[in-house]
Symmetry: C2
Subunit: 193 residues, 2 copies
DNA sequence: CCAGATTGGAAACGATCGTTCACATCCGTG
DNA sequence: CACGGATGTGAACGATCGTTTCCAATCTGG
């Protein structure tokens, strides 16, 4: 594990436990086994560390969702499973993702928002196909609601035990939450009733 | 509006926009029309301001939910409506609630957690009555998931427009999300099929 | 009008913040 | 061995942090 990765791992842990503004570079460096000034051999600023974390986060997320499925229901199920699995596999990054976006310096924010929008658009596309007739604002709100539901375990106090079978539970809740968005569209060709 | 309320209003706005650690007492005071040191005429510390915000937040929430309803479905619907309406009426407090709990000083944390547990227990009771047979951990996870869904609009970028009919949409999504928890329990006395 | 309490401002405190700089150490390559 | 680049340390920087202190202004009740 390179020093750079050690620093990122320490920053991930500390940013999640406290916050970006609540953690100093000296604390991150100490957790990585060096002194504060050594941070600047690997990152040009504290902000760049946070930006690197967001970049890795989106990478890990985009890798999980793969290529779109043809069947609308299968596509949504795949997106849900990927998102839930990510939030369980990387709880600390998930916490940072939901909490520290405003703390990201303006210089790096545009890039994060662009990649993030690509991810959300994939969701909106999937929902629009499966539940047609909704406005883009409504679709975006539904996506936000579903994402919040799936990452809700990160708001659990760190002391409490993570329950077994959490992933399937969150998947079923997320899938069910989308039901009121509408009935499935009619199949392209006439067939079964 | 008393100076104390002005300070709390300024703190609410700034803590929500930036974060607790990211806002200095001078900024809060300036927003309230005084200098930084004047803060300490009304609050003993910056932490006490945050504690006061949490206290008011729980107050506003507990007032909204009122007394428990007899019908399990009506009770859940009431809880959902109250929570959604609160998060829409007080978006800044909702942001702070979800983001700054760890920033609250240890001295004030126990009180917040006690009152918050009372609120969550009311939810767990309602869900346990309507969807019996689940473990307490599962119920707690479902409550967290539903709460996250209902407050998801606070993760919207501040620049985007809030959509009309957001409240009913979130209510229906929240209600539907609970469906996979199980079928309704049989009525106490034999009657309609 | 005056005594006392309330409220606010200016300045300063020690601490911590992110960052830089000068210097030492190490390591691979010639 | 000599050398240059990569890596790390310790000290210091200006800035900002939360807080305290001292003093002035304002208000209130007798």
């Amino acid at each position: 594990m390179s020093r750079e990765e050690q620093i990122l791992a320490a920053a991930t842990r500390l940013f999640a436990e406290r916050s970006f503004d609540g953690v100093g570079v000296d604390a991150i460096a100490a957790d990585a086994g060096v002194t504060g000034s050594a941070i600047y051999r690997h990152f040009s600023s504290k902000d760049e560390i946070l930006a690197a974390l967001f970049d890795r986060l989106i990478d890990a997320l985009l890798i999980r969702i793969g290529e779109p499925a043809d069947d609308p229901d299968a596509e949504i199920d795949g997106l849900i499973a990927a998102h839930v699995e990510f939030s369980i596999a990387h709880p600390e990054l998930t916490i940072i993702w939901g909490r520290e976006q405003a703390a990201l310096a303006h210089v790096y924010r545009a890039n994060l928002q662009r990649r993030q929008r690509a991810y959300v658009d994939r969701w909106i596309q999937a929902l629009d196909t499966r539940y047609p007739g909704l406005s883009r604002d409504e679709l975006a709100a539904a996506v936000r609601a579903t994402h919040a539901l799936m990452t809700s375990d990160t708001s659990r106090p760190a002391s409490t035990r993570r329950i077994a079978g959490l992933g399937p539970l969150l998947c079923s809740l997320a899938k069910a939450a989308l039901a009121p968005l509408g009935d499935p569209p009619p199949a392209r060709v006439a067939g079964s009733s």
